[in-house]
């Protein structure tokens, strides 16, 4: 939190050297800010938004039990409105009329892996589905129609050009899948049934990587589950058709936040004539 505060002050008080910052009291910092704002009144609204955010953060840091969820999102919304929406009227004006994203992204619901952060997706760029362990169930009209609806909308209506399924490290859903006992007994209402969509990944990892630790097996399963989901995408006729026509490309990815890495790989297939009689 303190780091963020200092950065903000550096933004406002550009004349100061970074080394001087640490020894200043907050009164001196506020005096410097007041002086800057009296010289440059147009910075007033920017400063107000930033100060509001800092105040909320410091309040939360000072007394974690006093977390006010409404205050938190209110601050976030006004920051977005002033720093993004109002500064990009052309972009947001265009987006108000419609969206034309190039990506359909499947990412985990995990709070640490939002693709808007790690890949900096801007509004309008990615139609995004988030669920436990970023899974795509196979084509089935009655069950899991939510995922089918998202794929159908993205491919047939929005005509996205890329589908990317992003797995990640320390995925609770994958760990849950790997922890389901061999006799198949489950203790949850819905979670274990959902993650069993990628049971083929678990089978593969257990048979090929049995010598690895549970945690290493989970890491491999995170990536193999992405592959299972990519394969399941091809069971949707409209996906298959677009892939064959080369208007759609499927990609797998894995975000490792333990080591700060990001892998991307292709799902390729070719139609190779083997016989022409």
């Amino acid at each position: 939190m303190a780091g963020k505060f200092t950065k903000c002050m550096m933004l406002c008080c550009s004349a100061k050297e970074p080394e001087d910052m640490g020894s200043e009291s907050y009164e001196e910092a506020i005096a410097a800010l007041s002086k800057l704002l009296s010289d440059k009144a147009d910075l007033g609204s920017v400063a107000a938004a930033k100060i509001k955010q800092i105040t909320a953060e410091l309040e939360a840091a000072a007394d974690p039990t006093q977390f006010d969820p409404v205050k938190r999102i209110e601050t976030g919304f006004f920051h977005f409105k002033k720093e993004k929406y109002e500064k990009n009227p052309n972009l947001y004006g265009t987006l108000a009329k419609g969206q034309s994203p190039k990506f359909l992204v499947f990412a985990c619901s995990d709070s640490r892996v939002c693709p808007s952060h790690i890949l900096n997706f801007q509004p309008g760029e990615a139609f995004m589905v988030r669920n436990i362990a970023n899974m795509v169930p196979p084509y089935e009209k009655t069950k899991y129609s939510g995922v089918g609806a998202a794929i159908e909308y993205a491919v047939l209506h929005l005509k996205v050009e890329n589908i990317m399924v992003i797995g990640h490290s320390c995925c609770g859903g994958i760990k849950g899948l790997m922890s389901i006992p061999d006799d198949g007994t489950t203790s949850s209402d819905f979670i274990e049934q959902w993650v069993s969509i990628c049971a083929p990944a678990k089978t593969k990892v257990k048979s090929e990587n049995n010598e690895l630790s549970f945690s290493e097996q989970c890491t491999n399963c995170e990536k193999e589950a992405v592959n299972v989901s990519l394969g399941n995408l091809l069971t949707y006729p409209f996906v298959r058709e677009a892939v064959v026509k080369k208007t759609l490309v499927l990609k797998g990815a894995h975000y490792d936040f333990v080591n700060g890495k990001f892998d991307v790989w292709n799902l390729n297939f070719q139609i190779i004539p083997t016989l022409a009689v």
């Binding site: 919304f77 034309s100 190039k102 990506f103 760029e125 129609s145 890329n162 892998d263 297939f269």
Partner: protein
């Protein structure tokens, strides 16, 4: 015929986004650190992924693999920028997150590319467990297993979030489909899914039949949020926690035509949150 997916082959072909930088740095022993300009949200400094091409008509199909490579080059650049300017700068925070996540929010939002809650409400890594589906719908418990209720179960029982926030938005394609569909037998995934909001459609038509279609859609977008909020309470482990004051359930509506955000909290009095068919809400606010 689709070739079977050779998982092992792809492992060796995987492009590791960090390695490419090292390869390009030359023969010196320490990799040259290429300073990239900080990624800001304005389109001027970051190459937007084809947004300038949008003129209201559908984007042309890209058969040019070169252009697609550009797209992924851009993603690589963005990840490396995130890593340098956020991940490494806030390493302590990310180390804590590595161990476990303890978000205070569970957010259910639409998959629409324009309404990511991380952007519009400024959620940072670790703050919000997020479900995104078409039209931010929550089916009731009796509809059986779904991706939405699996995530609900995890967020409420395992992560023990304190707040659930359902966020709807203006010009929602899913709600538009719901409002314009007729029971003519032809089915699609979208129609099957948005039928979860059917009661919201009936309420809208009953109350707002005199308004034009667009206006009715705006009303249905909000009715649907309320209906989904009530559906949350069909899950006993949610209702129980709400009753005990351990979990709060909120609705939110993002209007991107005017850039306003409306929020309200479901008021749980005794055993019912509905009175004469209307949801009891409190702390209603409009931010504009």
């Amino acid at each position: 015929m689709v070739n079977p997916f050779p998982g092992k082959w792809f492992r060796s072909k995987a492009m590791r986004m960090n390695d490419v930088d090292d390869i390009q740095s030359g023969p010196s022993s320490s990799p040259k650190i290429i300073r990239r300009p900080p990624v800001s949200s304005s389109e001027a400094s970051s190459k937007s992924l084809g947004l300038q091409e949008f003129t209201g008509s559908k984007v042309q199909n890209v058969n040019n693999s070169g252009e697609r490579l550009d797209l992924f080059d851009e993603l690589k650049r963005r990840f490396l920028s995130f890593k340098k300017h956020k991940y490494l700068e806030e390493l302590e925070h990310f180390q804590t997150l590595k161990e476990a996540q303890s978000p205070k929010f569970m957010v259910i939002a639409c998959a629409d590319s324009r309404v990511c809650p991380s952007t519009i409400l400024g959620f940072r890594p670790g703050e919000a467990f997020m479900i995104r589906n078409v039209a931010n719908l929550v089916p009731p418990v009796e509809s059986g297993p779904s991706e939405t209720n699996a995530a609900l179960e995890f967020a409420v029982k395992t992560l023990e979030v304190e707040n659930i926030l359902i966020i709807g938005h203006s010009c929602c394609g899913g709600i538009q489909t719901l409002m314009s569909m007729r029971d003519n037998g032809d089915s699609s995934f979208i129609k099957s899914w948005v039928t979860n909001g059917k009661i919201a459609k009936l309420r809208t038509e009953a109350a707002a039949n005199h308004l034009n279609f667009d206006q009715q859609c705006r009303i249905c977008e909000k009715e649907s949020i309320n209906h989904s909020l009530l559906n949350l309470l069909t899950y006993p482990w949610i209702k129980d926690r709400v009753r005990k004051g351990l979990l709060f359930v909120h609705g939110g509506y993002y209007d991107f035509l005017n850039c306003t955000f409306e929020k309200w909290t479901l008021d749980f009095k005794g055993s019912s949150v509905e009175e004469r068919g209307r949801s009891l809400v409190r702390d209603q606010e409009l931010w504009c």
